[in-house]
Subunit: 220 residues, 2 copies
């Protein structure tokens, strides 16, 4: 059985992405990063649940150096996460080159585990405009990681969500039976999702457009 | 003053590479990775000394996940480091996608510190044939990291040693006043360099060809 390494943060997008890999008959290895982000424990718990739902092997990487590098509001508690809506500029929740770092580490894990594919749930259209979520960037990374590894280790980076909007992702998740109550997308670490950070707004707008209610609880 | 982020392992090549950056009038930030490799303490000590020699700021990243991923003889003590000479095949001292991981993390550090250049001491010609040490790979990574970061964060990856042989590197090091007694290239963790691992053999051959004796001590 061919193997796929799926980067799973614990959010709706990465969970749906991993279910798509599963539907393509891959054996799934879930890859998760702890990086001292505000919601580290919550996201790790969601990762565990999603992997259990999928029957996937789990690999957790200590990426706390990302918080050491800093410069983003997900790891730096002194920075404020914007609540006034998604805009055109790159917000301070952008973690410098996070997906590049994740994909490079995934490249090594995929090489050791003989995975033919690496799945990552990046979304280009309906997003906060992070530069490391574009199709052009992913293609450039794919080329780099196939040039920089041994001949036998070729892998495709699969981004089945890259051109979907959030409403299409919600529909895809329902179609595949993703347990959306097992996911967490909010940037804030609180009992209920805040509903006003970019990530909540994009998720909620997706549910609204799909005409479905989100099974997780919101503060507002 | 323009800034360069120099990846410095503590070996002869990366030290010389950082001195080249210094000679090009960059302000130097030294970046080092601890990854539970056999010679972690030795290499870190050399990194510290080289940075002190250069008057460089130091950043040390905890990359111990590399040992967790495993599959290489530098971090896995149950694997034997070959001693019978440099050959054409990629040896087990190849750490999967190590330079890809290092450059991705460097990309984030460079973005936060506004560095215009990232220096890495890869050598393509006179090497063990690691796939992540080629010019083609580095160019592909450079493209990826400039696409995956914010617009203001363009950086050049500089590889001044990539087409040099080890003898030319020794000559360059002497010309620039690199304190070679402050470097460690051996893969083994012992008091004196083993002299027979690929890294020692390449270094010693470089000194021999340059007609100079290596200031560090060897077992044999």
């Amino acid at each position: 059985m061919k193997k796929a390494l799926c980067i799973i943060s614990g959010g709706m997008d990465s969970a749906t992405c991993a279910y798509i890999a599963k539907a393509q008959n891959y054996e799934i290895i879930g890859l998760h990063f702890d990086y001292n982000q505000r919601t580290m424990e919550k996201e790790r718990e969601c990762f565990e649940r999603i992997c259990d739902d999928l029957g996937a092997k789990k690999i957790i990487i200590d990426g706390k150096f990302i918080a050491q590098i800093g410069g983003n509001s997900l790891t730096d508690l002194s920075m404020k996460i914007r609540e006034d809506g998604v805009k055109k500029d790159v917000p301070n929740s952008y973690v410098p080159f996070r997906n590049g770092i994740f994909l490079s580490i995934a490249a090594a894990v995929a090489e050791i585990n003989a995975c033919e594919a690496i799945f990552i749930g990046v979304v280009e259209e309906d997003s906060s405009g992070y530069p490391d979520c574009t199709n052009t960037f992913i293609k450039a990374m794919e080329r780099a990681l196939n040039l920089g590894r041994t001949q036998k280790s070729k892998a495709q980076i699969c981004t089945p969500l890259v051109n979907l909007n959030k409403s299409q992702i919600v529909q895809k998740a329902l179609e595949l039976g993703v347990k959306l109550e097992h996911t967490w997308s909010c940037y804030q670490n609180s009992e209920f999702a805040c509903g006003v950070c970019d990530s909540c707004r994009l998720r909620l707008a997706g549910f609204a457009a799909a005409g479905i209610s989100d099974p997780i609880k919101y503060k507002i």
